[in-house]
Symmetry: C2
Subunit: 187 residues, 2 copies
Amino acid sequence: MSPLRAKILSVATDLFQTRGINSTGVDTIVAVAGTTKMTLYKYFHSKEDLILEVLQQGHQDFQSWLQQKFETNTKKPAEKLQKLFDFIEEWVTSPDFRGMAFLKASAEFPNEENPVHRLSAEQSRQFRQFLASLATEAGIQDTEGLALQLSLLIEGAMQAEQMKRGSGAVKYAKKAAKVLIDNALKS
Amino acid sequence: MSPLRAKILSVATDLFQTRGINSTGVDTIVAVAGTTKMTLYKYFHSKEDLILEVLQQGHQDFQSWLQQKFETNTKKPAEKLQKLFDFIEEWVTSPDFRGMAFLKASAEFPNEENPVHRLSAEQSRQFRQFLASLATEAGIQDTEGLALQLSLLIEGAMQAEQMKRGSGAVKYAKKAAKVLIDNALKS
DNA sequence: CAATAAATATACAAATCTGTATATTTTTAA
DNA sequence: TTAAAAATATACAGATTTGTATATTTATTG
């Protein structure tokens, strides 16, 4: 990928997170990226396209980061679900965390027909599916159910932490997860 | 309150929920409300003021609705925490639910210094405090902890339901809450 | 009816928004 | 060095944004 294109993507990612998507104009993006609108519109057909790519990139980064964490840290299926919350805590409490992108995007584009909203919902679904696969590995019966419950805890904690940095929400989400996982294993 | 002012508030509430706050101009609001900008700016000093009032009104309506539900349905402290999730489900699955206002507002105004963000965070805190008071009534030890955990479930479920109507997230949140409450009562 | 208040119609300022047209400069590659 | 590609500078169109100024019309009240 062209370094200029990558720069635009990274600047847009940052500005969207800190100022909001609708509140960030393309003029601001190119100014911060040190380029011009002509270049931006050469690499992205529209602002909506840029938003969609920012979302996709962000989700992929998150997924890859998680994947790598699991590969280098945890091998036992039973531990994975617990470990996940440690990773999430590390992600959420990192200094430049400013909320989960797809959660915020769906709020800025509430219409379910909107492409940005659709992609956000799809990413949320994918994450839940990933949770379900972990639950399956751990030998859980109602994988879909537990996956949804854990996703509520995680997304809720991300929301809480975005609203107030240092809220410590993930700490409690972790405890709740332990109770729910243990309970699901017993049934 | 002037009926015209009330009309503007109600129209703004609806448009903010369905189209987003930043995507809704005052021109659209007055057009739908059947009035003019002059009137709007007579009752509200600025768009930000209108946003803040919409949030305040919405939160008050939600709180009052909950309060009344508890008064007419539930007297026993031990039952209240469980019942709460029935009420939340009723609220969330009502046909015109379009997400929790303060959650979406904080996403559209990510800056923690922003007045809209501050109010949203305050409302979230108040709701958590209400949960804590219910937990105290029920004889829970770690009231703050359980309140935070339940708030994650509820706000997570609201987020999920806003993202995809009919997701059934509250159903699972309710089950998870039961497990967490039982566990908290045992300790 | 007359005086006061409320609401409207209309127009506009000034800024901002997305997206494009045109021409020039810089970089890359043959 | 020369031709092709990439990036920039600049300007602008057209729409939309919040907020205000001015004048007119409608409602209310004494």
